[in-house]
Symmetry: D2
Subunit: 370 residues, 4 copies
């Protein structure tokens, strides 16, 4: 199947999430990056394009021009990824939607609610597809959890506990020039929410995605613990959901010991389940009155999930594998560049191991030289 | 940077490891699959090529022909991946090495030790690069562990405990027509080793890779627990290493409760470390007389590893992300095909969440409707 | 040292917490149970006394009579344990305090706040010692945690997350005649709090015990999820503490998959810590910017705690040991009553194991019969 | 029920395991310590007796005299605990057995196999009860595991993996005057086995206890890693069991990061199970083809075990409780001696918490002062 042509706005040198989007787009072979406005700085935009193997005539310094130009080409992009800071989501998305080009947008949707509502109107009016990368919904066991709830295995929903704890903003990182910290703590770029916008929305989205229900009311205690910080860096929230269920949500970027502690626990009157993003290949499921079970990705007792490798291989297995391929490319481009890459000697060594094992076993487990 | 051109032998419809190699090759964008002999059955080979977007004139039914033809092209492949059953590794690798095409070969190297030795001679004589995908060596924390040992943090090495336990061959799966089980338990295709060849070699390789030392002698007790199975499905091995260290290695494919339980524990006179493939983003490191530490991938206290995402994101994070991109492609190809994919409504919902949080917080945490 | 003489009110046949208090009193040998009003039902009180090896003349059916009689004896009790349902704590404690007998009282203090205040006045006026068994404060690593906070290792306190989750009241157990459930869900016996009184107070007490600070305000959402239940079975609480710290507290008796999930997490501006009662011998401690450490009871890096056994022995080690002593008593009282108790054959077997190991090792690890 | 009268040989000041035996004997109230030869040094023996509340006329400096004297008394001891170093087990046990006094003996049975065999003859000839404290067999979930195997849930046994890893002898502790290390590494006091005798016998005993089967052959690789140590401090052992099962056993006292890492894993053709002494309240049980289950002590799906408290309370719960009782005794003996002990203020605080919760909940979760 032919890969689709993809463009990107943002994600140039020094950015983080753009690279993640590019890997994600490549991984299954359904997309090919062919155009981009990787930076609003023209020099940086073109340097990034060169690095990314994007042709010079499809490297743009202006997103509006990119939208126009790509819409006019026969071989124009078939979708655009928007990976800019939050405040740029709305103008960029609008430009491409108006040009009829489908949008894949990072979250949160926009910096402000009015912008979000205007964007929703644009989507509705243009009819152009719009996707939002609430990426945690893509975990196989999150989808399994959703199915478990949907088929009634938890019974009637009672309590939901969601949390997303990090520690990277425990000190005033935004004053050190760290770019990721700077825009996330700036109301002009991030919007009214700090931790709640950056990570609270993930926890909230996941809670609603898995339960299949919606929160109707909340009571929120937001704090900026770091002196002088203008947006919340910690949030304690009480939730009331449809049909009488209740919940709590904790989002924090100042909790030492947490890297990306996104965790979801759901309890109904028949069973409960727990999942943690830092250990994503296991889902704890307990029917009332029975021992706890650990479901594993693609393991016994799970359904037909989107999964690429057999159970027991953490999904990072693929990255480990990819590292070898990448090193092989490095070594071919510059011999000796990948000293850790296994080669023929390692293969011989393995065969000697097997042969020695068989010899020893045949000799009543006698010591056998390798 | 231009991706390198890659060919593949094996890995057609119904195979497992070929798809893993393709994802790994794509992930960082350094390779492009342009040719293949995906099966020795011509029809299957060409059907696989079509699915994989490989041009018909570069789909081969015979690996030897592929080696000749590709070597003759100006735009011929720059490396070939060999993902066939073990007994075919040697002839295929030899053909490509003789043609001057670098080889990336799945493990174990060959089915027999003489074949392996002959292949090593071919590599040496031709001078063509040869890489072996001992993929577990690519895990970031395995490389961190190797560095910890290399810089002497464990002190003098004393004890190594390695194990690789699975349960998928606990019953006679090879009689059910399951292709993966059939060739792995057939001496003609797998060689003299069953579990020790298939997974014991991984544990053994990892043990030597991380310790940077070599085993000199072993005593092995191999068993075929399943009635009528011709190769070992469980191995208990004592090891003696250079410089007086000792070890144990357990490989099993009949241990209920284990999916891919590859685990390594290493102890020196100053410290010890433990790692488990099913939880690959954590490395337990304990200096004698100090509390145990959990090092995380790219986390505090670790070195400059090959890593693509920040700490706390399990590497499966990328797959979850990729699933959204793949679903976006599906939806664009066929609207409605990806019902779980987040869209504009999810974005609006997130913005309402943020806005409600801020409103509630400003009103002394009053209940606020969403 | 002579053990002190102990009396008990409540804790007769069918009770739970009385037996726990008796074991706790015996464990270190500082107490001897010599008197009791084990039940308000005379027959049951005396039968319980006989079982507990309490002399008939010191078995009482009335707690007030017990207080008078014991206060009058030269060898009267030196303290009394109160292990009745909550609503009886105040009258019983008052009677013994007035008689000058020190009180060890189970928690919560009373059924109502006015009762509690009156009791506090009685304690102050009589000057008689009064102890409350907030037993979780006795865990060695809880005391370690308190010291860690007290010496400033967490820095300035920011966030506290406390929870106590159970599932035993997920269904309407109080209607089945289960005595423990019946009084706990009855406002007349338990007071105004259901889950918050029974287990929420534990989490709250522990939070203040470890942090050494106090909550000043709370906002609470209490729910009775089980139809017809008169007291809360789930509580979601926001907390504000002195000096600007904030917290959340979740108490639930309807969360399937939780037995006694008491868990405490505390974050300051320099470090964070986590502890779970179901895994009480480990304390996770993470300084900002350093790898997480797992402190173990009496292990490396911990202070001089109240601890009875070396690190790595879970404290249940003592119970396992005690089981053997109890079975030895059973066997001596009735030979053959303890079939699992190890004996001389097990000892011989162990010696043969050692001898065979040494023999095998001396013969180059040759197989040696046992 | 009247407690039985207990004597003890060994366990005086400076000893470790004697105190553990005394707690174990006290815990369920079935024993009362009334006599002892706590040391072969008379002064130390009598000082220890005084501390332990043993009457002076029943404090002995010579175990043989103790056996004679106690056998002659009407109120003589009904059993004796032997908690000396290994080489004294045989002579002491013999003296008491010959005097008709039942023996509770620490493990391993003796220092040498001939001694053990002679002792077995004495037991047989005298008919006096003899118990060996293989204490790990007393864990509730170990007994559950034994029942699981016995009722055939694992199917036919195939593989057993046992290990007991410690790190306290990683350096030459025996040269520092540490008494526990000194006798354990001295062949004259410990016998032919070092780590295999001290902890290997525990792992071996547990393996046979749980499986209900016996090892028939072993191949052992023993090492003394610490320079100059005369007994093994690390053992790698292959096992062959009855009916074709096989096993491995690792015992080590030089593995940094391990405190008391006793671990047992058992696999049959239908299911597998795993248990670790450092996390003794959980047993992992996996039927082939089903998700892993975690059985908890006294939890759902377990049988009628010897257990003192409800599930979810780790057994250390009792020690935490006991600490409060012990501190209450301290405070009564010397007011102010137990500053951490909860009292009336803590009780009031808890009641204020409950009352505030109820008030807040009734006011739509309004913030309420405590």
């Amino acid at each position: 199947m032919r890969p689709l042509r993809l463009g990107m706005v943002g994600g140039g040198q020094g950015a983080f999430i753009g690279a993640v989007h590019r890997i994600a787009a490549r991984l299954d072979g359904h997309w090919q990056l062919v155009a981009g406005a990787f930076s609003s700085d023209a020099a940086r935009a073109h340097a990034s394009a060169a690095e990314l193997n994007v042709a010079p005539d499809r490297s743009y310094a202006d997103f509006a021009e990119m939208a126009r130009a790509e819409a006019a080409r026969d071989d124009g992009i078939e979708a655009v990824s928007i990976v800019t800071p939050n405040h740029m989501h709305a103008p960029v998305a609008t430009a491409f939607l108006e040009a009829g080009i489908p949008v894949i947008c990072d979250k949160p949707l926009t910096a402000t609610l009015p912008e979000a509502e205007a964007l929703a109107e644009t989507v509705a009016r243009t009819g152009t597809p719009f996707f939002l990368t609430h990426n945690y919904t893509g975990y196989p066991l999150i989808r399994e959890a959703r199915e478990i709830v949907a088929r009634g295995d938890l019974g009637r929903l009672r309590v939901v506990q969601a949390e997303y704890a990090q520690d990277w903003l425990a000190e005033k990182l935004e004053e050190t020039g760290q770019k990721q910290a700077a825009w996330r703590t700036d109301p002009a770029k991030s919007g009214a929410g700090g931790a709640i916008g950056d990570i609270g929305t993930h926890a909230f989205n996941l809670l609603e995605f898995v339960t299949g229900t919606q929160a109707t009311h909340l009571a929120a205690d937001l704090t900026s613990f770091v002196d002088g910080r203008r947006l919340d860096d910690n949030a304690h929230i009480l939730l009331r959901l449809q049909d009488g269920a209740k919940g709590m949500l904790w989002a924090s970027q100042i909790a030492p010991g947490h890297e990306n502690g996104l965790r979801l626990r759901i309890y109904g009157d028949k069973a409960g389940l727990e999942w943690s993003q830092e250990d994503p290949n296991r889902l704890r499921f307990t029917r009332l009155g029975a021992p706890a079970q650990w479901l594993t990705r693609a393991g016994a007792g799970t359904g037909s999930l989107t999964t690429r490798i057999p159970p027991g291989h953490p999904e990072g297995y693929l990255e480990a594998f990819a590292t070898l391929y990448t090193e092989a490319a490095s070594d071919l481009r510059q011999p000796g560049a990948a000293p850790l890459l296994p080669g023929i000697e390692d293969g011989l060594r393995g065969m000697r191991f097997v042969t020695s094992c068989v010899t020893s076993a045949r000799n009543d487990c006698a010591w056998t030289a390798l």
